[in-house]
């Protein structure tokens, strides 16, 4: 499966890849990072998070890392997830797609600072 086959990414997959782009995380860590990245606008439940992770694991966008203890949390060993090369490519391609949309919106004066009536 090529990178293009994964596009466009669903909002959940996009946010998970974005959260994992800055390092390996366990499930709860991904949730918190998604919340922080989206300034609290995206809240993912366990059903959505792990449903998306399952499909991402199957598609090779992410992979399970080793099982280890999070020093900031309890002493329970957790599975960490990390982005793969294919996942990073898919994220980059999706960001490129977003960039194109933003450029298009700017050209059409759709962004708040470029509204025709603001000028």
């Amino acid at each position: 499966m090529t990178t293009v086959d994964h596009l466009p990414l669903t909002p959940a997959v996009f946010h998970i890849l974005l959260a994992l782009s800055s390092g390996e995380r366990h499930g709860y860590g991904i949730m918190k990072q998604v919340e922080a990245d989206s300034q609290g606008k995206v809240t993912m439940g366990p059903g959505t998070l792990y449903g998306s992770l399952k499909r991402m694991l199957d598609a090779g966008l992410v992979k399970e890392s080793d099982k280890r203890v999070d020093p900031e949390m309890d002493d329970e060993r957790r599975i960490y997830y990390q982005i793969t090369g294919v996942g990073a490519q898919a994220l980059a391609a999706e960001l490129e797609r977003y960039k194109h949309i933003v450029t298009l919106a700017k050209d059409r004066k759709l962004l708040p600072k470029t509204f025709a009536y603001d000028v």
């Binding site: 059903g47 399952k54 329970e76 957790r78």
Partner: protein, 282 residues
């Protein structure tokens, strides 16, 4: 004594058992840990657990349903649903059409209303029969009958395990039977449930919207029971197995189909004089 949080965690662990086996083996442990982390977060923030627990349980239950659906139809779910419902809809419509034409041609009085409800119920009965039986007929026709390759190994989920499928269909049938029994004993006012407390006020363009909806839901229970019971039969037939490999499932399918067929026949017998234009029929 078990604390409130321990009880919730234990319940969540039980909920996770409803995920398909492959999913469960791979991710259930992480899900449980994440749920516990979220519970701890709420506890430390001194926020109430109830709202969070309700949200997490509903969200996870939807996830379980989605995973089972994806397991049954790995491709486009919508396309699969349309493909499954398309033929029964068309076949039942074609079967009802001659009677609708007879009704129109032999109308005694053009001022009287066309009995849409009668034809809808007739169509629904025929739709139910074809929805239950068509996959079995197709399975029998496409079965490879290659005894060297018997029934393939199934992924063991709620909707692929013949035992759980049997239980689900029995529960669906029992819910209808118990409701009818309670109604006949006067314990559940089914008539009131269908007609509402004040039937006069529920009419919108002559259709009792809420009551019709409840009636449709009640009607769909035995249809769902028949479809669910037929699933293992269809899979066995497709794999070249025997129609009688699941006798209890077959009995349920036959009984439900027979009841719907009896409904069709009784309606046709009752309304036949009207179809052929006999004066003063009702």
């Amino acid at each position: 004594m078990m604390s409130e949080q321990d009880a919730v965690r234990s319940l969540y662990k039980r909920l996770l058992a409803f995920y398909p086996r492959v999913f469960r083996e791979q991710l259930a442990e992480s899900m449980e840990q994440t749920f516990n982390d979220l519970c701890n977060e709420k506890r430390q923030a001194k926020q109430g657990l109830l709202g969070f627990v309700a949200w997490a349980f509903i969200e996870t239950a939807i996830g379980i349903f989605r995973e089972h659906l994806l397991l049954i139809s790995p491709g486009d779910i919508m396309q699969t649903i349309l493909k499954t419902l398309g033929s029964p809809t068309l076949i039942s419509l074609l079967l009802v059409l001659p009677f609708m034409i007879m009704e129109v041609v032999n109308r005694r009085n053009f001022n009287e209303d066309f009995p849409f409800v009668l034809f809808f119920v007739l169509w629904l009965n025929l739709f139910a029969i074809s929805l239950i039986l068509l996959p079995i007929v197709r399975g029998r026709r496409t079965g490879n009958h290659d005894m060297a390759n018997p029934v393939p190994t199934q992924r063991n989920t709620l909707l692929t395990n013949p035992r759980s499928v049997l239980m689900i269909s029995v529960v669906l049938i029992l819910s209808v039977v118990i409701l009818s029994l309670l109604d006949s004993l006067g314990w559940v006012p089914l008539e009131r449930l269908l007609n509402g407390p004040n039937p006069e006020q529920l009419y919108v363009f002559r259709v009792r919207v809420p009551s019709q909806f409840i009636a449709l839901v009640l009607f769909s229970l035995p249809i769902a029971a028949g479809v669910v019971a037929g699933m293992p039969i269809v899979r066995t037939l497709r794999a070249g197995g025997s129609l009688f490999a699941h006798p209890f499932h077959l009995i349920i399918v036959v009984v439900i189909s027979f009841l719907f067929a009896a409904g069709v026949v009784s309606m046709l017998v009752d309304q036949w004089p009207c179809f052929i234009g006999v004066p003063n029929c009702d």
